[in-house]
Amino acid sequence: MMENIQATLNRDPAVQAAKPIKMKSRNVTVHYGAKQALNGISLDIPEHQVTALIGPSGCGKSTYLRCLNRMNDTIDAAKVAGEILLDGQDVYDPDIDVVELRARVGMVFQKPNPFPKSIYENVVYGPKIHGLAHSKQDLDEVVQTSLRKAGLWNEVKDRLDEPGTGLSGGQQQRLCIARAIAVSPEVILMDEPCSALDPIATATVEELIDELRENYTIVIVTHSMQQAARVSQLTAMFHLGDLAESGPTEKMFSNPDDKRTQDYITGRFG
């Protein structure tokens, strides 16, 4: 009897074997000029899982996210130290090709930002500059696969020549996700991807994130506790540039260890 119960419990999708680590960071610090924004973050990001970064505004979660594909390089005053490994390789190694890194670690931003071009051109832009597709046939295929994976194909297949900016907010965001997927990334970083979307579009994007997890490793910054609880398997709580706590999402939202996490997720300080 007890064995049957145990067997049933083991079928619970929450009870899973640990996934290999895709990205590993050790003691990452970031300074913006004299101001220190991150105070030594060490965090493992497992493969094919959604890791949510939460915390009050200014806690460093977006700064940390931007370290993962060296987006902070574009800010002159930003100085990053510590170690960030992608499949064991240091992403801040001087020999690394940053453009290639950003193809492997793609990013989706808070506000949908399609290029002022056609839907088709938005998707093929990346594959073209990375030389991933050459013939028209290759490009057509990339467009279809990426838009399908982003759950947008059926809505736009008859108007691929129309401007991407003409789509609704939710569709634009899925177009941006399709654009990120088109270069076959391994990791997708999302910085509050739903904050500008209505609840229906949010639900579509969340459903998409859950499907994408099968093929990609996802790191998402979100201000919505409920969203973090719904879409992620792991949650990391940032506070004033520190990593307060990280662990399985279920535990973080039902019984967190750190008082700062407890206070933040229950709305006791902001």
Binding site: M225, S254, N255, P256, D263, I265, T266, G267, R268
Partner: protein
């Protein structure tokens, strides 16, 4: 713990928690009065217990509605979620305790139409004292969120089960001695069972208090001493060896 940024949320939670404490006090009073009515054949007191049960039911529905409204409005997390889910569970247990107190109260007339020796009801009084003590302790544990006391209450249920088992044996013996005792003894047996069940609900509440405080479920191993379900006729005709009731 710090208060919520949104004060109306804080007020909603405090309201629900206060209601639970009030329900606890009322359930406790009902159990006391029901047993007292049974001891003293006080039909008036018994009737007031029956009437009080309606109030307890109404408060339980109120707690349910408030809790669901708060979940819908606030999407509580962590300790807040446990507090609210805990309140729903505890109010349910307290409502059941009210029902279980009402039941012996309703039997007051039936029991006393048939004269029986006072010692028959003495055992039940003792059982009720134990159950009431458990209830008091678990309400204290809830008020102070004391998980150690909650554990003690869970373990204390063993004593109630043991006394119930011995009352069960005793009442059967009276019934076998003189069939005219059967009606009163059966009513008393039901009353004893109801009181024993009150102890079980106190245990449920203890488990909930433990969960609210720690976020973990109490371990499953629970002492069990109500062996009446497995008692055979032969167990009853030969007196049990000393100490056997607590096995």
């Amino acid at each position: 713990m710090a208060e919520h940024i949104v004060t109306s949320y804080e007020d909603e939670l405090k309201f629900i928690i206060r209601r639970i404490s009030e329900m606890g006090g009322q359930a406790e009073r009902m159990v006391e009065q029901a047993v007292s009515a049974l001891m003293r054949s006080d039909w008036g007191l018994a009737q007031s217990v029956v009437a009080d049960d309606l109030l307890l039911d109404a408060v339980q529905r109120e707690v349910d509605e408030r809790a669901i409204r708060t979940i819908a409005k606030r999407q509580p997390m962590a300790i807040d979620l446990r507090e609210i889910v805990g309140a729903i569970r505890i109010s349910n247990d307290l409502e059941r305790i009210g029902d279980l107190a009402k039941n012996p109260a309703k039997r007051v007339i039936a029991v006393h139409e048939h004269t029986q020796p006072m010692q028959l009801v003495r055992g039940i009084e003792h059982l009720a004292d134990l159950a009431l003590d458990q209830l008091k302790q678990v309400l204290d544990a809830y008020a102070t969120r004391d998980e150690t006391q909650a554990l003690a209450v869970r373990d204390g249920d063993e004593a109630i089960d043991a006394v119930y088992t011995s009352i069960f044996r005793e009442l059967l013996t009276y019934m076998m001695e003189d069939p005219r005792n059967i009606t009163a003894c059966t009513h008393l047996l039901f009353s004893a069972k109801n009181i024993e069940r009150i102890g079980d609900h106190a245990t449920n509440i203890a488990e909930t208090v433990y969960y609210i405080k720690t976020g973990e479920q109490m371990s499953a191993e629970r002492p069990k001493s109500d062996v009446t379900a497995s008692l055979a006729h032969s167990d009853l005709t030969t007196p049990p060896p000393p100490g056997a009731a607590g096995e």
